[in-house]
């Protein structure tokens, strides 16, 4: 009897999980579907779910109108550059917090995280002025710096949690074996933390790839990444849903594929510390 209840419960939970999953996935599914419709079908009422004239026209129009490869390249540089730079800065920071903590380490970590609670628009004006002053507007290097800084708290936090899992005795052994600080971090800590560092890089690459506030506000043409590419198709008249969908699909496709192949790493990264 008890067994039957648990089975029924299991089925209910599974169904609920699938329902939530499908609900979350629906907008992406709808975007991809719409990208293969004509503009007229895209706004058809009732909505068309499968039986319509599949077309690749939107993709060719989008390709003609804008240089997808340039946006893609900018996205890769900005997301990749900011993530790598962030990790290089964060590894020593996380090392010191994890292995030589002081009384204030927890406070510093919380303070770093608190900067993520500030609405980005609150610092838009000062950052824009700085960008104008140093001629960083619409440059990749400027965006790399900004995205690195806004994601740094998350990178430090994630690395800190990973490093905490590494037994301190192994680092002490390295010190006894004659390793200086540089060798200790380079030859012992980093290789041992590779899975953690990989998850961190992956997650932050995705965050930086999807970041739209700064990339839209601080770029015009030459440094504009895929977020700007999508935005350029959202016209005020709103009658180009199919093309907008095609542009969106092209923008999210690379990161979707990356996410699909690395989902194991990602889940581990996101739930690390929560389940042990």
């Amino acid at each position: 009897m008890a067994r039957a209840t648990t089975t029924r419960k299991k089925i209910a939970w599974t169904a609920l999980a699938w329902a939530v999953g499908l609900l979350i996935f629906f907008p992406i599914y709808w975007t991809i579907l719409t990208s293969f419709k004509t503009e007229a079908q895209a706004i058809n009422d009732p909505p068309l779910f499968f039986f319509f004239d599949w077309t690749l026209e939107n993709y060719s129009v989008v390709q003609e109108r804008s240089d997808y490869m340039q946006f893609l390249w900018n996205s890769v540089i900005i997301a990749g550059g900011s993530t790598l730079l962030g990790v290089i800065v964060a590894v020593p920071a996380a090392w010191s917090m994890a292995f030589v903590p002081s009384n204030r380490t927890k406070d510093i970590l919380l303070w770093m995280l608190s900067t993520k609670m500030l609405p980005a628009v609150g610092v838009l004006y000062p950052i824009s002025l700085i960008f104008v002053h140093f001629g960083l507007l619409d440059t990749r290097i400027g965006l790399v710096m900004v995205l690195m800084l806004i994601n740094l708290p998350i990178i430090v936090w994630m690395l800190y949690t990973y490093f905490r899992e590494i037994p301190g005795e192994i680092l002490e052994a390295a010190r006894m074996d004659g390793a200086g600080l540089k060798e200790e971090i380079l030859y012992v800590l980093t290789p041992m933390a590779v899975p953690g560092i990989a998850s961190t890089i992956l997650l932050n690459f995705i965050l930086a790839w999807n970041e739209a506030f700064w990339t839209l506000n601080l770029t015009a043409a030459s440094a504009a990444p895929l977020t700007a590419f999508i935005a350029s198709y959202s016209s005020p008249e709103g009658l180009f849903y199919a093309k907008l969908s095609a542009a969106s699909t092209m923008a999210i496709a690379p990161i979707l594929i990356l996410g699909w192949f690395s989902q194991k790493q990602l889940v581990r990264g996101l739930t690390f510390g929560a389940v042990k």
Partner: protein
């Protein structure tokens, strides 16, 4: 060379003093064991010598040079950790070679030394494995191999055998002792196991609550413990203590007599008691004897094949020469 001098070394963690100012000299080539109950500060003392902890006060000299502020990497000491602390991402070969690589030694010489250490420690067949694929005993050997290849001025061992099973522990104990005879390098060994201390040490340092209770050879500590703590800690099974009337007969506050210094008989003797638990080891038998008016049972050693059992009456006579006398502060009276 491996002469280490501690001069008024002390250590506090916050307000807690874990090592009270202490002096200690470790001579070149000596096998010194720090022994004491857990929390006595023995591991902290070793870590201070290693440089893994900063001292609150005092100085450490290694081979005459002040090493107080020298980082661990530059002290020329090698350490074997309780958890082995092997590098999990490196093969056994790379683990052993790591200190040589850090010393920027030539590759050919590195290989030669690793091969040599591996053959001494029976690790040749495992050189290309990762530590995760080794047994506890093999990991322990790798940790030792990593320590010996660089020919340090002294070895530091932090409870290296406590993660091994009993049979392996005895074997490794012998191997480490043999290694010391062969290398004649200074070794400092931390353990809570007084049997390890007695069997391996040239010199035992007994610690309690951050203080040195006594320093001496195993037999010195056994024959003439400076106080009741050392008397009770060194020797297995523990020394029996008696206070009150029996002690007063010897003009002492307390007397101590080891189980092996009591003669037993089923007919006559000074003390009379009833046998409680008896432990038959084959070579020896230990009786836990209940004496009227005494809270704790008294432990006595008898021959291996005595025919006495639970509930029997037993008579015991201490060897008068071997009675240890202590005053009210617990200090030895000669």
């Amino acid at each position: 060379m491996g002469n280490i001098v501690l001069d008024q070394v002390e250590k506090s963690f916050g307000n807690v003093k874990v090592i009270h100012p202490l002096d200690l000299e470790i001579n070149d080539g000596e096998f010194v064991v720090f022994v004491g109950p857990s929390g006595c500060g023995k591991s902290t003392l070793l870590r201070l010598i290693a440089g893994l902890e900063d001292m609150t006060g005092g100085a450490i000299r290694i081979d005459g040079d002040d090493a107080t502020n020298v980082p661990p990497a530059k002290r020329g000491l090698a350490m074997v950790f309780q958890s082995y602390a092997l590098y999990p991402h490196m093969s056994v070969r790379k683990n052993i070679a790591f200190p040589l690589r850090m010393a920027k030694m030539e590759k050919a010489e590195q290989d030669r030394r690793v091969e040599q250490a591996a053959s001494v420690l029976n690790l040749t067949d495992y050189l290309d494995r990762r530590p995760a694929a080794l047994s506890g005993g093999q990991r322990q050997r790798v940790a030792i191999g990593r320590a010996i290849v660089r020919e340090p001025s002294a070895f530091l061992f932090d409870e290296p055998l406590s993660n091994l099973d009993a049979a392996l522990r005895v074997g490794m104990r012998l191997e480490i002792s043999e290694m010391h005879k062969r290398l004649t390098t200074t070794m400092i060994y931390v353990t809570h196991d007084q049997v390890e201390a007695m069997t391996m040490a040239d010199k035992i340092v007994v610690l309690q609550a951050g203080r040195i209770e006594q320093v001496g050879s195993p037999l010195e500590l056994y024959k003439a413990p400076r106080n009741r703590f050392v008397a009770g800690f060194i020797g297995s099974p523990k020394m029996n203590f008696m206070e009150g009337e029996e002690a007063a007969k010897h003009n002492a506050h307390a007397i101590g007599i080891r189980p092996e210094h009591i003669t037993t008989s089923d007919k006559e003797g000074i003390w009379k008691g009833t046998i409680g638990v008896s432990e038959h080891l084959g070579s020896d038998t230990f009786f836990h004897v209940h004496i009227e008016g005494r809270a704790d049972p008294m432990t006595v050693r008898a021959g291996g094949e005595v025919d006495m059992h639970h509930g029997d009456t037993i008579y015991m006579t201490p060897d008068a020469e071997r009675i240890h006398k202590f005053d009210a502060e617990g200090l030895r009276i000669e």
